[in-house]
Symmetry: C2
Subunit: 232 residues, 2 copies
């Protein structure tokens, strides 16, 4: 039996990256899951990442410690309020983390080279993407071009492909597709500002996008929201 | 008096990055120096980086902790012997660190965005470059293109320039140029495999390139090499 091809999957533990794992499995890859601990306020998402990696029987799951607080500049890592209840418009919110996807993909590039992978999966999405510039297809394309000049592997002709199976799907389409492929969304976490117990706030951008996604998909959201709990 | 423009300078503490600082000063930039502590065996170079940043009166010097050992694969970070006394040929040596410059530049990109810089200086060099793919002009150009799609700053029209003043200079030309601009090379460190006291081994790739550079420049190398000390 020949060894299965491996792919690095960037796994935050949210809906998108978890669905992305399912796509990598569908494409017959063994999963090398990579998550980041970067001083985020919502580190409970790393627990979700662990559960999802285990659910998909990832061959390995690495959690890389990086210190994005070294340059601050985002409410996800610095002491600034997370915006609540705002409309999801075209403006880039303060939850944007400078260079985040660039840094995450750069680490994935390093691990890909060392482990002999030619494939990286990322759940970036340019539809419901809260206006982050580093989730656009032109950014991903450009990163791939750069990556294929950056490494010894590429010099030797082993080119890298960055897969973005979710990039043009709405959240509802992602959820429907994920359920088709057997994703257990009760393992996932979306909230930017959870309670100390890990409950979702229900009103940050990420919770709003999740709620609308499940509604539009016509699927029950398994999340236990704080506001919902308080109302009951 | 208007505030001086600032530039991020990637500063390892070696000849190239130190000379790069001098170029940034010549170009009338205030320096924001950025170094990396990445489990390198030659962390004595960080002491040199501190001295050089101070010599050039950097407005700030940040040393970012990153864990490249997360993927190993290089003799600079993993327990593999550093090659000694080999000829400097076209082959990529095992001191190559996967995705290193990509990761370093990605962090610089993040700091640039937060601090409002539009300029990054890096001392990469494609002449005496030991065969690292991420030191080639086409890599740098490609990184710049990617960076200008990655950030909120770029979306708003504040494009980033990556300056590589050393890219086509020989080591001898770099040293001559640096001395013209007042660089104190006694502060710099090159060796990949120094003694516990920080003395240079004199025989790794980096020492060999340094020695030849000073010879060809017709300038005395201020380095105290172990082998030299042992021979005396």
């Amino acid at each position: 039996m020949s060894e299965k091809k491996k792919a690095i999957v960037l796994l935050s533990g949210g809906i998108d990256s978890s669905t992305c794992c399912a796509f990598a499995r569908r494409d017959h890859f063994e999963i090398l899951a990579m998550s980041f601990s970067y001083g985020q306020r919502h580190s409970v998402e790393l627990d979700s990442a662990r559960k999802v990696a285990s659910f998909f029987r990832a061959e390995e799951h690495r959690i890389v410690e990086i210190d994005l607080r070294a340059f601050g500049g985002s409410s996800l890592t610095a002491p600034v309020d997370v915006p609540k209840g705002r409309s999801i418009d075209g403006e880039i919110p303060n939850t944007y983390v400078p260079a985040r996807n660039t840094i995450f993909l750069s680490y994935a590039l390093g691990w890909a080279e060392v482990s002999g992978c030619r494939d990286i999966y990322t759940g970036v999405n340019s539809v419901d993407y809260s206006g982050y510039p580093d989730c656009r297809p032109e950014f991903i394309h450009s990163f791939q071009c750069m990556a294929n000049l950056a490494t010894k592997a590429a010099v030797e002709g082993n080119y890298l492909t960055i897969h973005t199976p979710l990039i043009s799907l709405t959240k509802a389409q992602i959820i429907r597709k994920g359920i088709e492929m057997g994703v257990d969304y009760s393992l996932t976490h979306s909230c930017y500002d959870p309670s100390p117990l890990g409950e979702a706030c229900g009103s940050c951008d990420s919770c709003l996008i999740r709620k609308i996604g499940f509604q539009e998909a016509g699927v029950k959201d398994p999340t236990n929201y704080m506001s919902k709990a308080a109302a009951e």
